[in-house]
């Protein structure tokens, strides 16, 4: 191996060594040379060595030249007086073991190519080992899978040190196979469960990696025979757990529960909540088990609460969850920042769903309408365009709340009876108030907002306005729309001639700023 000058030479030398080992058992010691190269610092050399190992052990696994069964320690076998073949096999199995360990270490290699290569080699070994199991089957048709090796792979993927998102996206290809997915879920739940063992502080990268891996596991929606296996089996037995979707679901649920029982960082929490309703809850064996996590998240407040709402909604709606004071909490969620967060559209979509029932008490709806109107006083135009029709829809659904916009012969008041600080919608006295906020917003600078706010001047039309298309509207879209809109005639012009940048005396700019 010392004579290797360039990569070409190295490859040829390694190739020769592999050929030699495969050709005769007498040359078996050449394996050490190959494994030595695997320890090299040079990236090229490592890659060559990995290739060589892959070929070598792949061939050996296929030939069955590795020891099968509980592996005895090396010294014991070598000193013992058993057959040479057995000695050779045990010895070779130990080399294979060290090779796998080294490959597991290489998953943390700084170069991505090496990582990727190591991963694919390991997965190849997993496949071959699955076909030619290295342990004795306990009975006929026993399902065997290289758990140990696979756990090594998953452990390497869930590194606490560095971000493995690229490698994980590579790994996602394997997750399409049912058996790999099942065992990944098992291995991941083990790894995640042991994450905080003996460690007070788990780094964020670990949670990121774990979330990445967990979120990339997606179960099939409907019950079908799970047959796309990574490890080729001649025939599938019905007794195997891997074949049943129910088992998959159990594993999936266990994995997520073990993950979510930890004190997760807020960002991860948000990410989980974002995918909760869509890709987690439908696959759980018992979705109601998520209630702990969701209520905890709902109590955190702010954006997390908004996100938890979606999961809670599904539990309430589909799984008969009783949630005390739900509307009161929802009412509490309405604060000025609700118009500025990223999940505004989702929140208002859900709020629309929650408030769509016509059996809600009038005081509750009135409190919501009044609260929203109050918040609208600080909202940007894109949010206003959505929330004003929202309020009008509330009033349409609940005719009892129309007093908010139409109270003939009411006494003139000195102050708004509505109490914004009150947490209980029942105590907020919203029904005694009027939507003066909307009247103020009729003076809004944007014409469309002004028009939308003017809707309360007339009796509301009967059909509701669908707010679905308004939910995702951004300010930029409104801007583009305004730019494209054509006026009826020519562009009106200012008739007071300009006298300079700060020319007009009465301008605020001229009063507070100078040119130099």
């Amino acid at each position: 191996m010392e004579g290797a000058d360039g990569p070409g030479d190295a490859r040829r030398a390694l190739g020769r060594l592999v050929e030699a080992v495969l050709a005769s058992r007498g040359e078996a010691n050449a394996v050490f040379d190959i494994l030595a190269v695997l320890q090299s610092e040079d990236q090229e050399e490592i890659q060559e060595a990995v290739h060589a190992c892959s070929r070598l052990f792949g061939a050996l696994l296929a030939r069955g030249e590795l020891f099968v069964g509980q592996l005895p320690s090396e010294e014991m076998v070598l000193t013992g007086s058993r057959g040479a073949t057995r000695k050779y096999k045990v010895w070779m199995r130990h080399r294979y073991q060290s090779c796998c360990n080294r490959l597991g270490e290489l998953l943390a290699h700084p170069s991505f190519q090496v990582k990727e290569l190591a991963l694919s080699t390991l997965m190849k070994f997993v496949q071959l080992e699955g076909e030619h199991p290295l342990e004795k089957p306990k009975y006929e048709g026993n399902y065997l899978f290289p758990h140990q090796l696979f756990r090594l792979v998953v452990g390497g993927l869930l590194s606490p040190e560095e971000d493995r998102s690229l490698l994980l996206s590579q790994f996602r290809e394997y997750l399409e196979h049912d058996d790999i997915r099942y065992h990944t879920m098992q291995a991941a739940s083990d790894t995640v469960a042991r994450a905080t063992d003996g460690r007070p502080e788990v780094p964020l990268t670990f949670w990121n990696n774990a979330f990445m891996l967990l979120s990339s596991v997606s179960l099939p929606r409907q019950e079908s025979t799970l047959s796309s296996f990574y490890v080729k089996h001649t025939e599938l037995s019905d007794k195997w757990k891997v074949v049943h979707l129910k088992e998959h679901r159990k594993a999936f649920q266990q994995m997520w529960l073990r993950f979510l029982k930890h004190q997760l960082p807020l960002r991860i929490c948000k990410k989980v909540l974002v995918i909760m309703h869509d890709s987690i809850l439908p696959h759980l064996a018992q979705p109601s088990l998520m209630i702990d996590f969701l209520t905890r998240a709902y109590d955190i407040g702010g954006a997390v609460s908004l996100l938890a709402l979606n999961g809670l909604f599904i539990l309430i709606h589909k799984h008969n969850l009783e949630y005390p004071d739900f509307y009161r909490k929802l009412y509490g969620l309405l604060n000025p920042s609700v118009f500025h967060v990223k999940y505004r559209a989702r929140f208002f979509h859900l709020a629309d769903l929650f408030l769509s029932s016509s059996h809600l008490p009038a005081y509750l709806v009135a409190a919501f309408a009044k609260r929203l109107a109050r918040l609208a006083l600080t909202a940007p135009p894109e949010a206003l365009l959505m929330v004003l029709p929202f309020i009008c829809n509330l009033l349409r659904r609940h005719p009892a709340c129309r007093v908010l916009m139409h109270r003939p012969r009411g006494p003139e008041l000195d102050a708004d009876p509505y109490d914004p600080a009150e947490e209980d919608p029942a105590q907020s006295r919203a029904l005694e108030s009027s939507l003066w906020e909307l009247q103020a917003l009729q003076q809004h600078y944007h014409p469309e907002v002004s028009k939308a706010a003017s809707a309360i001047n007339q009796t509301l039309s009967v059909p509701e306005v669908s707010i679905a298309p308004l939910l995702e509207v951004t300010a930029f879209e409104i801007f583009e729309r305004d730019l494209k809109k054509k006026g009826p005639g020519s562009v009106p012009l200012e008739f007071i001639p300009a006298r300079g940048l700060l020319g007009r005396r009465e301008d605020l700019c001229a009063q507070h700023f100078t040119l130099s």
């Binding site: 944007h446 309360i456 801007f479 730019l483 300079g500 040119l515």
Partner: protein, 853 residues
């Protein structure tokens, strides 16, 4: 009544029937009249078939059939067809003359072809008036018809008539007929007379036309002469008298009278308007514009814009003037000396002046700078530009040659280097190269001259070029603003040409501003998408927004430029977190612009209140007692939450309130701690002033106290800390006072009364029947369809009946033919039998005779 009408109708229809039948029948035979009896008398119905003449119509139909169908039937076995092969006989698109020409040409061709095959030597036959020339030569002694022309010249209708013994004019033809009645060439004679008459008439007409032509010519000549005469009269009255010497010399009195009579009256001109009138007009104009603005502000024209007159620019600046009140002038030279400008003489023939100016302009655009020192043009041009009093306008008529032009003074020298004519730059780089390195005045001058030299009235393409110039100027301004330090002085001045260009080309100007805004927003949107927030844009963007507010009316309910600009401002206030003192300055400037935009319309801006609250929060030290919530770009606690807090007592004491320089928004130089503290306090002062402005503006809003609630909480907190100069404390106290003083009236909302929906009525709907006999109550198309269906049905039944009758007629004809044939045969058979019988008889008789013998 029915009977009377039927009688009249019968009479009317009988006349043609009589004509057909060949018998004149004054009254129809009552037995032939069939009367269709009406069951009911319907008022207003027009009956068309109440009376019929079946016999007559049957006879007519029969005759028609014998003429057409029978003929066809009889010719059914004949296959030869007569075909008219004359050229263009049935082609109506060719006029008869043309047809004749073509026919002639064809004939000639045919003859030529036929002859030339065999006749090698002979050319085509030459003809004159259709007769062979050879023939004419042969009969040379034939009486020439032209020889009569002399007589015919004087022959007129009366003459002819009298000649032929005609008495009354009413019967000339009869007389002629009578005259030639007994003679042998009856026809030819009559023709001859007619020809004579026609010819004489034609000749008379020709003579008349000639006379008219002559008259016209003389008139024209007279007119021409008159024109020249006036010239002659002014210059050399003698020659005129010489020209008209044959006329009697008019006496002086007459001439005087004529002159006075024909003298052009002085045109009544517009009276010079007095100062008050001008002022009133101006006021009126402003009032009208303001009313228009108000209407747009309230957004009432949304549906009524159809009848809205086209918006005229405020100072209808199609004349290319920048500012009508601008009194700047350009220098001019006379004989190498700077001329002192006197009061420009406004009465010096305005129209001519304009023309000259145009000519000048053209000359310049051709790129001849030397021409520019001709009398009026440059001065007029430059009279707008900034100049000194110590310049004089050159006198008209005296052209100082270009070589003599000298310069006095450095500034003048610098200016003199500027050419007087510029092409419009084709790109922004060109404009930049044109303007870079020049002083402020020179840059202005260059822009102004570009504008003048390429006024749209001077050449066709100038409009498009100047439209582009607006965009380039805008870009140039952006570059100036982005520079370090920003050249605000030039921008300040360049606003005026921008304004005038905008007045000239509103559409392109608005497009250019929109483009700039879209660019900036697009960029911001990109950064917001990736990072979730954006930094405050550079000074150029702020300047653009400010300029947009100066070019377009900001108070409109909806405006194609201002509405997007408002959104742009709102985005700046909501998406850009304040991270430095410079951001504060920028933000406050944006707030000022925003408030200026809505200064007239007093519209509500939630973002602005949020922003001001955020700024106040930054200046408030005590974070514990929060009675308010901050929204998005601001955080209650964090890195920048105490950005504007000043704790240095000394700085507090030494601070003087002053305006913020706009440059700081562009690049805030590193300041000492004291300066920075002073800046902070100034920002705070501006912020408080803006709060005050908001309080004044939004005080009347119904939920003002809810809007201003966070501001009030912050201000009270701020006051409680006593950490700002007394002036600011005073200011915030007064703002608080004003807030408190705003009325708290919460009048319950009441919907506007809408028009009640009318109840459904069950009285029958009455439809006005306009025409009888027509189906009502359907659409026009349906009616038309029904009408067509009905017509088709009627036509169809009519056609079927006609066919049936045709068949009957034919059958009858066939039958009569057969009968005829049979009768003939019977007759012939009988004849044969007869002859045979006689033969037999004879034979028998002979036999008997023989027997007897």
């Amino acid at each position: 009544m029915g009977k009377a009408r039927s009688a009249a109708r019968g009479k009317a229809s009988a006349a043609p029937a009589g004509a057909w039948g060949g018998r004149a029948r004054p009254n129809p035979n009552p037995f032939e009249v069939k009367v269709n009896r009406q069951k009911f008398q319907v008022l207003g119905r027009k009956t068309r078939h109440d009376v019929g003449l079946p016999g007559v119509s049957r006879a007519r139909a029969l005759q028609k059939r014998t003429q057409t169908l029978l003929k066809e039937y009889k010719e059914r076995d004949k296959s030869s067809v007569f075909r008219d092969k004359r050229f263009g006989e049935y082609n109506s698109s060719i006029s008869p003359e043309e047809k004749m020409m073509k026919r002639f040409a064809l004939e000639q061709q045919r003859q030529h072809e036929k002859k030339s095959i065999y006749n090698l030597n002979e050319d085509e036959e030459l003809t004159h008036y259709g007769q062979s020339l050879a023939d004419i030569e042969k009969h040379n002694d034939i009486v020439d018809s032209d020889s009569d022309t002399e007589d015919q010249g004087v022959l007129s209708a009366e003459l002819t008539a009298t000649h032929f013994g005609g008495g009354g004019g009413s019967l000339p033809r009869k007389d002629a007929q009578q005259l030639g009645g007994g003679e042998e060439p009856h026809k030819t004679r009559r023709e001859l007379i007619e020809e004579l008459i026609a010819r004489s008439k034609q000749e008379k007409r020709e003579r008349q036309a000639q006379r008219e032509d002559a008259l016209e010519l003389t008139e024209k000549l007279d007119q021409d002469w008159k024109e020249i005469q006036t010239l002659l009269a002014r210059k050399t009255p003698r020659s005129e008298s010489g020209g008209g010497k044959e006329k009697p010399k008019p006496d002086a009195y007459d001439m005087m009278v004529r002159e006075l009579g024909f003298e052009m009256k002085a045109q009544p001109s517009n009276r010079m308007k007095t100062e008050e009138e001008l002022a009133r007009e101006e006021q009126e104009r402003l009032r009208r514009l303001e009313a228009e603005r108000l209407r747009r502000m309230l957004g009432r024209d949304e549906d009524a814009h159809s009848k809205r007159p086209k918006h005229l620019s405020a100072d209808d600046l199609n004349d290319g003037f920048v500012l009508d009140t601008d009194d700047r002038r350009l220098l001019s030279y006379k004989d190498g000396k700077m001329n002192v400008e006197e009061e420009p003489s406004g009465d010096a023939s305005g129209g001519e002046n304009g023309e000259e100016e145009e000519e000048e302009g053209e000359a310049w655009s051709e790129g001849v700078p030397e021409d520019s020192d001709s009398p009026d043009g440059p001065v007029d041009l430059e009279s707008d530009a900034e100049s000194e009093d110590a310049r004089e306008r050159p006198q008209g008529g005296q052209h100082p040659s270009p070589g003599e032009r000298l310069t006095t003074g450095d500034r003048a020298a610098a200016r003199a280097e500027l050419p007087y004519t510029f092409a419009v730059p084709e790109s922004c780089e060109e404009l930049k190269s044109l303007l870079s390195g020049k002083s402020m005045e020179d840059q202005l001058l260059v822009v102004e001259r570009i504008q003048k030299c390429n006024h749209p009235s001077l050449a066709v393409g100038n409009k498009a070029k100047l439209e582009k110039l607006f965009g380039f100027l805008l870009e140039y301004i952006g570059d100036l603003a982005a520079g370090d330090p920003p050249d605000l002085g030039v921008i300040d001045k360049l606003v005026m040409p921008l304004y005038s260009l905008c007045q000239m080309f509103p559409e392109s100007a608005s497009d250019a501003v929109k483009f700039v805004l879209r660019d900036a927003m697009h960029e911001m949107e990109g950064t917001v998408e990736t990072t979730g927030q954006a930094a405050f844009p550079g000074l150029d963007m702020l300047i653009y927004l400010k300029i947009a507010g100066m070019l377009f009316p900001t108070s409109d309910f909806w405006h194609p430029v201002i509405t997007p600009a408002l959104l742009c401002l709102s985005q700046l206030l909501t998406k850009c977190p304040v991270q430095s003192l410079q951001d504060v300055v920028k933000g406050l400037f944006v707030c000022c612009v925003f408030l200026d935009y809505v200064s007239l319309s007093q519209r509500f801006i939630p973002e602005l209140i949020n922003f001001l609250a955020g700024i106040l929060h930054m200046a408030t030290p005590n974070k514990q007692s929060q009675g308010y919530t901050l929204v998005h770009p601001f955080r209650a606690l964090g890195k920048n939450s105490e950005l504007l807090l000043v704790s240095d007592e000394e700085d507090l004491a030494t601070w003087q309130r002053r305006s913020l320089p706009l440059q700081w928004a562009g690049s805030l130089k590193t300041q000492t701690e004291t300066e920075a503290n002073h800046t902070r306090l100034s920002c705070l002062a501006v912020c408080l002033a803006l709060v005050r402005r908001c309080v004044l503006a939004y005080g009347p809003l119904p939920s003002f106290h809810d809007i201003a609630w966070p501001l009030r909480a912050l201000l009270t907190e701020h006051l409680a800390t006593h950490c700002c100069p007394p002036a600011l404390q005073e200011l915030s106290r007064s703002v608080l006072m004003e807030m408190e003083n705003q009325p708290r009236h919460y009048r319950p909302l009441v919907c506007e009364k809408s028009k009640p929906v009318p109840l459904k009525l069950f009285t029958p709907r009455l439809v006005k029947v306009l025409e009888f006999g027509r189906k009502q109550g359907s659409t026009k198309e349906e009616q038309e369809r029904r009408r067509l269906i009905h017509k088709h049905k009627r036509e169809f039944t009519g056609a079927v009946r006609e066919i049936r009758k045709d068949n009957q007629f034919l059958a009858r004809m066939r039958l009569s033919e057969i009968m005829e044939r049979d009768a003939e045969r019977k007759r012939k058979v009988k004849q044969l039998f007869n002859s045979l019988a006689t033969q037999e008889g004879e034979w028998k008789a002979l036999k008997r005779k023989k027997f007897k013998k």
